[in-house]
């Protein structure tokens, strides 16, 4: 027979053990999420629910993006570039015009693609539903989604055939809109402004180096590159050139940028045959 004290100690222990999940749950009350926890995302015929992404966010994302989505997770001091502050609702990779919110599909694609040259890996291991839920979760951090609608995705005209003339025209565009000031005349991220660049939060930021084999953050297809300089990378010094470059010229620029990249390409081969020289920063066309 157990003594009375043994029974009490067993009962007390069991009660404390059963209360553990409740005690642990109380730690999560610091999240300020209640008001927008009903946020949804819509990816094709999949509907994402913010509340269903809580566990995945905690497991995979919180260390960088923080419990409040402000980018102030534990890894914040150690990673460069810094994690995205979701509360601001400002995103680099969009199909929408500069200054507008991205579409759900934009965020969905970014999660799977990851962001090269950052600590954001490719989260291609999620199911589509899990990713859609995470998109809703990301959105729920910012009140922008309550008050604004995502922008209308820009129209990307069909890609024309690459020609030597187009590559040369692309070089002219590269000179005229002064891409070289940041990216350098050979795309090596060593332009005269490169060392001075800061993002919107005043943090140093490096321009993209086309020559070192890196993948552009927001996708590496020709359409992705077109989209990047026509929408800009919000929050960074990379502006939108939608008002400065006509669609046809934008394709020319895409072809010219391909000549810098280390990957084999038709453009690179053509540039070699043309013996194309880098733009001259001192030429009048580059100083306008």
């Amino acid at each position: 027979m157990r003594t009375r004290s043994q029974k009490w100690s067993l009962l007390l222990g069991a009660t404390a053990f059963l209360a553990l999940p409740l005690a642990s749950s109380a730690q999560l009350s610091t999240y300020d999420i209640d008001a927008r926890l009903g946020t949804e995302s819509h990816i094709g015929n999949i509907t994402g629910h913010a509340k269903d992404a809580k566990g995945d966010y905690r497991r995979y994302c919180v260390v960088c993006h923080g419990t409040l989505g402000d980018g102030n997770g534990e890894s914040f001091p150690w990673v460069d570039p810094k994690p995205r502050d979701f509360q601001l609702g400002i995103f680099k990779c969009r199909s929408t015009p500069t200054g507008t919110l991205p579409t759900d599909q934009d965020l969905f694609d970014t999660i799977a693609r990851g962001l090269d040259r950052s600590n954001m890996p490719q989260w291609s291991t999620f199911t589509k539903q899990q990713r859609a839920d995470l998109v809703a979760w990301v959105k729920h951090f910012s009140p922008r989604w309550v008050n604004e609608k995502p922008g209308t995705p820009i129209t990307i005209p069909p890609e024309p055939e690459v020609t030597a003339e187009r590559i040369k025209a692309g070089r002219d565009v590269f000179a005229r809109v002064q891409c070289w000031k940041c990216h350098g005349v050979q795309g090596m991220a060593n332009g005269p402004s490169a060392a001075t660049l800061q993002d919107d939060l005043g943090r140093p930021i490096a321009p993209f180096n086309f020559t070192d084999g890196s993948r552009p953050k927001c996708g590496e297809t020709d359409q992705d590159i077109y989209r990047i300089f026509m929408t800009g990378l919000d929050g960074t010094p990379m502006p939108s050139f939608a008002d400065n470059i006509k669609p046809d010229e934008a394709w020319d620029l895409v072809f010219y940028l391909r000549t810098f990249m280390s990957q084999k390409s038709k453009e690179k081969q053509m540039a070699k045959q043309l013996a194309l020289k880098p733009v001259d920063p001192n030429a009048p066309a580059a100083q306008q």
Binding site: R2, G13, F17, L20, Y60, V63, C64, P121, S124, Q129
Partner: protein, 481 residues
């Protein structure tokens, strides 16, 4: 005898009751006061990810961690090259586990003594129960990338007396020809078991291994058969080619291994084993990514040995007279949302009749027959075969707290000798436990681990036809730095 056993168990229950209550309260306090996990252990500190990104619960990998491993410990971004690291960075982790455990083994044959007589006067069957503080062995893990797409892993490991061996030593060429479908690994490494024993979540003597990965049938004499090489859970020496789709949904692995159970020095003979595994994962919406696959291990091992100076003078490396063995089965990893999953492994195993009669390994000193000229098998000898299943459910309350269950059973389908009881050597075992990480620092992992295992084997008691039960309760701190 029966009475005395009851007395013994009753005496254990009373202090154990108080101890359990105290431990439960202590755990409750620790858990209630703890902070959310913030961790960057091992590889994670290279990439700035918390350990839960790759581990369902350390050390067991989740899908993202499996993909990272399959890519040669790379995230496949520009941070993979060691040049990103501070020159002082070196990816070394050590792991050792101080524990308290209580082991209880039933039906041990013990000598009995009569008063005043120093020599045994008889024998009896008794349960032996031992408890106390103890240590696990020590592991030094180091691995990572030497350069983009060149990776390595070295793991010197000791037992709890600090006797070291090399558990893993391998280098890997990743993404050959720019394709994730072609990666080559050379050295001593873990076989591509989806449910990895090296990342097992349990720690007890019986529960800390997968019985299915080490099973050997018993001979009529009650000793294991002579095949010591068909152990899928042991790291093996060889060459592996593995590949996977870009998102790791589809995986395959083909390995050619020396039949030596990972023992260096060519101690056995010219025998090889093949291991093949493949799996396919598919989306199941909110349930998560499900995976099903299969594996097969097919090999040959020696039964004949050259000797020098008599039967005991076995010449290492002289093994011949190779006979075959095989292990094959299905694997499933099923997820039911973010909290519950079930890992399943099945196995059908078979050893050649020679192994079933105890022929095989002579090198390690185990008494065994030598298949020399003129040796014949006992009449009626047949290839022992068996079927087994392993079910391991988890409840992941949070990345910091996981509850573990496991049930394994192995049933003989054909004994080595016709006269043996059909259930002789059958094993059933279950394990329950939990691991709780009260905190994680950016450089280390720490878990409070509590586990209970019970193992039952048919027919192997000292009295013929009786069964053996063994149980173990374990509490410990599992930490790595």
């Amino acid at each position: 005898m029966r009475f005395s056993r009851h007395l013994q168990i009753r005496n254990l229950i009373h202090p154990a009751t108080s101890l359990s209550a105290l431990l439960l309260i202590l755990i409750s306090i620790v858990m209630t006061c703890s902070q959310p996990a913030n961790a960057l252990p091992a590889f994670a500190r290279k990439y700035g990810l918390r350990c839960s990104a790759c581990h369902e619960s350390w050390p067991m990998l989740n899908y993202f961690g499996q993909k990272f491993k399959d890519n040669g410990y790379q995230l496949m971004n520009d941070r993979d090259s060691p040049i990103w690291q501070n020159p002082g960075y070196w990816p070394v982790t050590f792991r050792i586990i101080p524990i308290w455990h209580r082991v209880s083994t039933g039906k041990v044959a013990v000598d009995t003594y009569s008063s005043g007589n120093p020599l045994p006067t008889g024998s009896a069957i008794q349960r032996i129960t031992t408890s106390g503080f103890d240590l696990s062995g020590l592991d030094f893990h180091t691995g990572g990338t030497l350069e983009k797409n060149f990776s390595f892993y070295v793991l010197p490991s000791s037992d709890n007396t600090a006797s070291f061996h090399f558990e893993t030593v391998m280098a890997r060429l990743d993404n050959l020809f720019g394709s994730p479908w072609f990666n080559v690994k050379l050295g001593k490494f873990e076989l591509d078991n989806l449910l990895s024993e090296k990342r097992i979540l349990t720690l007890t003597g019986n529960g800390g291994i997968y019985q299915l990965y080490h099973f050997s049938p018993l001979t009529a004499a009650g000793v294991p058969d002579g095949n010591v090489w068909g152990k899928m859970g042991d790291n093996q020496l060889g060459l592996e080619v593995m590949g996977h789709s870009w998102n790791d949904r589809t995986r395959y692995s083909v390995a050619l291994l020396s039949t030596n159970d990972g023992t260096p020095g060519l101690p056995y003979g010219n025998a090889y084993t093949g291991f093949f595994a493949a799996s396919q994962a598919f989306d199941a919406g909110k349930a998560g990514v499900q995976r099903v696959g299969f594996y097969a291990m097919v090999g040959q091992a020696p039964t004949t040995w050259l000797t020098s100076g008599g039967p005991n003078g076995v010449i290492g490396g002289s093994g011949a007279g190779n006979k075959s063995f095989s292990r094959e089965g299905f694997v499933g990893q099923f997820y039911f949302g973010q909290h519950i999953d079930l890992q399943v492994v099945t196995q059908h195993g078979q050893d050649n009749a020679w192994f079933g009669q105890g022929f095989g390994d002579l090198v390690d000193g185990v008494a065994s027959g030598n298949n020399t000229v003129g040796t014949v098998l006992p009449a009626g000898s047949q290839s022992p075969s068996w079927n087994g299943v392993l079910l391991e459910p988890h409840y992941v309350y949070s990345p910091q707290l996981i509850f573990i269950g496991r049930f394994e059973t192995i049933r003989m389908s054909q004994q080595a000798s016709p006269g043996m009881a059909s259930n002789f050597g059958n094993i059933s075992t279950y394990t329950i436990g939990y691991r709780y990480n009260p905190f994680m620092t950016p450089r280390a992992g720490f878990a409070w681990h509590n586990e209970y295992n019970w193992l039952h084997q048919d027919g192997t008691g000292p009295i013929p036809g009786t069964n053996i039960n063994t149980s173990e309760l374990l509490l410990g701190f599992d930490f790595d730095f």
